[in-house]
Each structure stands twice: as structure tokens, then as C-alpha cells.
């Protein structure tokens, strides 16, 4: 989610900090073209959550971290026939065609989720092995 006070200056500053491939292609000057950015086709990026880098190796036994992906840009589905669109995305797209100024295009929706097990110590040094279901998105509407 985004907070309401995230101004364009902050946005430009934040983006400089993240060397994501699609963002570096965009000019980081004050004339950041939001429309151009939004019209970029949806791209897949990977994020690695490292429990080690978070300084949690004293209580998380395994895994060292986990990888997941997120995407940004304009979603291409369901117009491309090979994509897996959710029912909601199809309806959203249809309504967008009818009311393009009022109803936005659909956002990505997870279509395949996977769980991860996490092994950790609690405060009393008991060991817990917990299955976190639906933790990692393996596929979304357009990837």
C-alpha cells in the first residue's frame, strides 16, 4: 500500500535508491513522466527476503530467506491469449472499456501461491516449525 503523503519529489528520490532495470531507463529528472511509467508493460521483478541480513539468524534456524516476485507496469492481460487472467480481471477490463475515464484497468492478481516452512526458536527456546501457506506468489495474471 502507499501512504497519502508520498509526493513526487519523494517518489523520485526513492526510485533513485532502487536500481530496478525498468526504472533506470526512465529519466530521474524533475520531469518524471508518470504516464510513460504507467504505460510500461508489466515486468516481473524478484525480491529476496534475507532473514540473515535482517539480523535474525539467532532465532530463525531455516530458511536463510526466501525469494518472491512482484510486478509493476501496466498489466497486459487478458488481451494476450496466452496469459491467465482471473475472472475479476476480465470483468474489470470489460468495464474499463465501457467507462475508460472512471474505471481503471485491472491490477495484477496472484493466480498461483506457494507456502514456505519456517523453523525458529521462540522466547523460551522451544523450536517451532510453521507452515506459512500462500506466502509466495508463483504466478500472477500476466506472468
Amino acid at each position: 500500500s502507499t501512504s497519502g503523503h508520498w509526493h513526487q519529489e519523494d517518489q523520485a528520490m526513492e526510485m533513485k535508491d532502487y536500481p530496478l532495470s525498468n526504472i533506470t531507463e526512465i529519466s530521474m529528472s524533475s520531469s518524471l513522466d508518470e504516464q510513460h511509467f504507467l504505460k510500461q508493460p508489466c515486468q516481473k521483478h524478484e525480491l529476496y527476503v534475507s532473514f540473515r541480513d535482517l539480523g535474525w539468524q539467532d532465532w530463525i534456524i531455516a530458511p536463510e530467506g526466501y525469494a518472491a516476485f512482484y510486478c509493476d507496469g501496466e498489466c497486459a492481460f487478458p488481451l494476450n491469449s496466452y496469459m491467465n487472467a482471473t475472472n475479476h480481471a476480465i470483468v474489470q477490463t470489460l468495464v474499463h472499456f465501457i467507462y475508460p475515464e472512471i474505471v481503471p484497468k485491472p491490477c495484477c492478481t496472484p493466480t498461483e501461491l506457494q507456502g514456505i516452512p519456517v523453523l525458529y526458536f521462540d522466547d523460551n527456546s522451544n523450536v517451532l516449525l510453521k507452515k506459512y501457506r500462500n506466502m509466495v506468489v508463483k504466478a500472477c495474471g500476466c506472468h
Binding site: I61, E64, S125, L129
Partner: protein, 251 residues
């Protein structure tokens, strides 16, 4: 041993050192995703004691794909050293959402008390999850080989604290002197007490008898207690199934 790091996929991730406040924010977010209210601060975090070793075995088993599980299993049981994980745990694991181990906190000293024919073990169960259903609980105790190849009966009892000296028989096993490895005793029946009293301290008594009903000290048949090596300490493992879907709290 992380396959992601080994195969260099990690290098494709955007990397940036997090600043102090940013780091704390991300820690808070991920703790929330993990359903934890705060960062656990264990006073002991040795991984080479029996309970963490068993849990690491379970974790590794969970990461093996279903089709590979059987071959992995065979491999585990052909090792010279007896494995901690058995067939029973594999099936319980498949159905569980949470597995929790409890280390033994107290044991009566049979080396001092020569008249004590019962080994008493105590487990602190204050941290059991509220609302989850306990599907199975096992007491796991290591048995060393002894030179006498006789047959014994090992029984485990729950000490009923509400009634002085009243014991509830939970499970019995026939063991041979030459046996060695982990013994698994079913203590699921004690779960009634766990549910009624969340701040429960579970006391169990182990009793060993010859086939002629003569009581003998558990250590004489090779049962390892608190004076034994760290990787052979008794512990309880409990399997839980979540009844509710985890919802993240709004902040």
C-alpha cells in the same frame, strides 16, 4: 547450503543496505507476515541439542518433494546412526500446520535416589498456540545399548497434579536390552490438560519393569536422561492443525 545463493540467482536481486529506521520498519512488516507480535529472543539457541536437531530433520523432510519423500526416507533409515524422524512423523507432518518441540526442564536424579524406580520429566507448555487443534504429541527418549539382552516393559504415566500421587497411564512399549535409538511414546492423551490449562506444566513418569514385574531404574536399561549428551536429551514434539486462517492485524 541455500540453493538460491549457490546458483547465483541472488545476484539478480536489487541490493541496497537498509538504513536504521527503514530496517526496523521492514523487520516489523515481516514479523507481521509471520504472525508474530515481537521478535523472539531465545535465551538458548544451540542447534546441536536433540529437539532442534529433530526439528531440522523435519524441516528438511518438508522441503523434499512428495515423489522424493520415500527415497529420502529409505536413505535416512539405512544410516548407521538411528534417525530422529520416523514413518509416523512423516504422516503427522503432512497434516500439521505447526510442529513444536519442548525440551525437558527437570528430571529427578536417580543416581542420588537409589530407591527411585521412576524417572520424572517436566515440560513447560506455556507457549502452546491458542485455538489450534493438537493432533498428536510424542515423548521421544533415547535408549543406549546394554549388554543384557533381556526384554523389559517401558511405561509412561502422566502425573495428575489435581490428585496427589495419581498417575494416568499413557503408553507402553516392550524394549530389548540390545535396542538402541529413539523411542517414541504417545502422550497425545495429555492434551486435555493442555487445553483446559494453557499455563500447564506437564509432568511425566517413566517406569521400567522386567517381564517378571520387577521394577528397575530406567538408566539401567540405557535410557538417556539429563546427565547424557545434549543430542540425546528427551523432549516432546507436538503436532498442531490450525482451525483458523491467519489474518494480518491492521496497523
Amino acid at each position: 547450503s541455500d540453493p538460491i545463493l549457490e546458483h547465483g540467482i541472488h545476484s539478480s536481486f536489487a541490493q541496497r543496505k537498509l538504513r536504521g529506521r527503514e530496517r526496523r520498519e521492514i523487520q516489523k512488516e515481516i514479523l507481521s507476515v509471520l504472525g508474530l507480535s515481537h521478535r523472539p529472543r531465545p535465551h538458548l539457541h544451540e542447534k546441536d541439542t536433540s529437539a532442534p536437531m529433530f526439528m531440522i530433520d523435519l524441516y528438511n523432510l518438508m522441503n523434499v518433494q512428495d515423489e522424493q519423500m520415500f527415497s529420502f526416507f529409505k536413505h535416512v533409515h539405512t544410516d548407521d546412526e538411528p534417525s530422529l524422524v520416523g514413518h509416523q512423523e512423516t504422516y503427522l507432518l503432512a497434516d500439521a500446520d505447526l510442529v513444536m518441540s519442548f525440551a525437558n526442564l527437570f528430571e529427578n536424579d536417580t543416581e542420588v535416589c537409589h530407591q527411585c524406580y521412576r524417572k520424572e520429566l517436566r515440560f513447560d507448555l506455556v507457549d502452546i498456540p491458542v485455538g489450534d487443534q493438537l493432533t498428536a504429541a510424542e515423548l521421544r527418549i533415547y535408549k543406549d545399548q546394554i549388554p543384557y539382552n533381556e526384554t523389559y516393559q517401558l511405561s509412561v504415566y502422566q502425573v495428575m497434579e489435581a490428585y496427589t500421587n495419581k498417575l494416568l497411564k499413557l503408553d507402553t512399549q516392550i524394549i530389548c536390552g540390545s535396542d538402541f535409538g529413539w523411542l517414541t511414546l504417545d502422550v497425545t492423551e495429555t492434551s486435555n490438560a493442555w487445553v483446559v490449562n494453557p499455563k500447564y506444566s506437564l509432568a511425566l513418569q517413566l517406569m521400567v519393569e522386567t517381564m517378571g514385574n520387577k521394577s528397575i531404574q530406567p538408566r539401567f536399561v540405557g535410557l538417556v536422561g539429563q546427565s547424557g549428551p545434549q543430542e540425546k536429551q528427551p523432549f516432546i514434539v507436538a503436532f498442531f492443525k490450525s482451525k483458523t486462517i491467519h489474518l494480518r492485524r491492521a496497523r
